[in-house]
Amino acid sequence: MTVSTTTSPDTATVTTSKPTRVYIFKRFERFWHWAQALLIMGMALTGFEIHGTYALLGFEDAVFWHTTAAWTLIGLWVFAIFWHLTTGEWRHYIPTGEKLIAVAMFYAFGIFKGEHHPYKPTQLRKHNPLQLLAYLGFKLAMAPAIWITGILYLYYNDWAAWGLSWLDLETIATLHVAAAFALVIFLVGHVYLTTTGHTFFAHIKAMITGWDEQE
């Protein structure tokens, strides 16, 4: 197992000393994460306004910002997919059953007893197996669902030209909103779980600096 103890990620040297800090999240990954967080929260806010849940910016501005954020995020994802493929980072999302039960048991019981997290992130496996499954679900199910329905929603007038006139707007809109609910619920769980590190802000700090401080 290789971990870094140097302060500069670019000149990381590999040692086998006792791990204290691990460089987990690369610079692009952190940028991607926070930009995506901002865009998704913005889209949730404007999206539910478009849905009619409340009035905040006004429908016209809400649509403008929702659409702008959507295209920006799609652009970001094109880069992110490229980055994952070229760097081999995609391997972090290969599902594994190893320690899966242990991690689940930890969040259900162990965490209350002051037990240590059964999983330690490394540069080869930065996510614990439960977390990995959740993110995989986000990437392979939630995100495509909301994007496909969103793009169809946006291009409603071109359905006939695309040979999709059998679709109906109510179905697409309903699926889009359903996916949005799933994303917002994911977000609540995700944000809460950031507080479950060895300190309250440990995970957030790791996502900002890239360094995971381990006990």
Binding site: V63, K113, G114, E170, A173, V177, I185
Partner: protein, 518 residues
Amino acid sequence: MKSLREIIFHIGNSLFIAYLALLIFSLFSNPASAAVSKGSTADHSKFEELKGPFKSGPEVTKACLKCHTEAAKQVHKTTHWTWQFKNEDTGQLLGKRNVVNNFCISTQSNIGACSSCHVGYGWKDKTYDFTVEENVDCLVCHDKTGAYDKKKLREGKTSMLAKSAQTVGRTSRTSCGACHFKGGGGKAVKHGDLDPSMDAPDIFVDVHMDADGLNFSCSTCHTTDAHMVTGSRYTPKAQDISGIDVPGKSDGSRATCVSCHGDRPMKDEKLNDHTDRIACQTCHIPHFARGDYPSKMVWDWSTAGKMNDKGKPFSTLDQADNEIYSSKKGDFVWQSNVVPEYRWFNGSVEYTLPTDKFDPSKPLEINRFKGSADDPNSLIWPIKLMRGKQPYDTVNKTLVTPHTTGKDGYWKTFDWQSAITKGMEIAELPYSGQYGFVATEMSWPIAHMVAPAKEALGCEDCHSRDGRMTDIDGIYIPGRDANPWLDIGGFAILTMTVFGVGAHGALRFFFNKRNNKA
């Protein structure tokens, strides 16, 4: 070198002279009194035939027809002349001669009075000969003096005829408006989007007719060939799919917005995407009766006939001098800046004619705009919904055509029974002898008084829970519509998640403290 004072003096002098010249020029160049209308090759004041004096309207028409040999024959073919219209889609025979409305109700027995708005002379009753050429009233449309008055002419006052004949020209807002701004028996009564403020409207009342701007006349859009005016209320073009009209590639009519603007005229493509289902008028005429006059919204005939203390008919005015009660006509409601109602409309209108039976237990739609979300030819249109109560035959369950005008009409006798009997007799319709009052509704398309673009509806006027599209069904409108089960389920799970993580956190906090103590 000239001093500064001198220069200023000279400039001032020149400006003053220019101002005087302008003033004199404007005094002698009033377009309304110009003998030659713009672009005309003929000065009608030089024609021997038009010297007059004329003793009657038909005499003027005879003079016109000496040169305009086909004019009367052309007019004879128009709805303006026949007051009859065959709707080829529904097979119904319509036109003012046949339909009933919920304003003055019917022309049949009252034609002597109603024909004051006919483009002809002498229509008093059923015996009128529609083939007489000199009975076409040329001046009612082509007079430019503004002094031509059919009512005065009927009283035998003919002094204005020669002057009118010598100065004829194209139709104008004023000449069309002489009838169309006063439909239903008074200013702004009937249409809601046509009233005398359009004689010389400003840009806020009508962007196209703006007298200081584009200055359109009615015929700028209602293009006319051989006296056949385009744009019909009986079969309106609800959706113009022919695009911008250019010679060789057009339907020859400019009586739709699309004729000039095309179907994607806006800068924002998402707005343009709306034109497949929404008429331009829906957003661009956000209110009707936007001019100086309120429109009549309700006419309740059932309360007519009350007398004052002296046993005389009376009328009541509101603070703005609108008649809100008349013994002759009943109760009225007037409104300005009215939010239209909205309907799916494919251009087909079905009437309840006096021969059609109906169910009097619910409001009767005297005319019904056909169309639906499933019909690709339907657009969402703004309408004025005119509500009223009017007499009907309680046994035959049909509308009646009461005789209201003349010595033996309701407005003199205040006796419904005799008025209906007489009216139905002249209309040759069966009447059981039993009458009552039925609530009625009529739809009038709103297509005029187009507002400046910045006054058009905003998104949330329709994209909101209680917006303007509340009554429009068959279509999913984001912001208005939502799957209730999804919302309930979604928010329930979201709430449970928030409570779930809250509880998890609280437990962590609690156990953490206890573990630390231990």
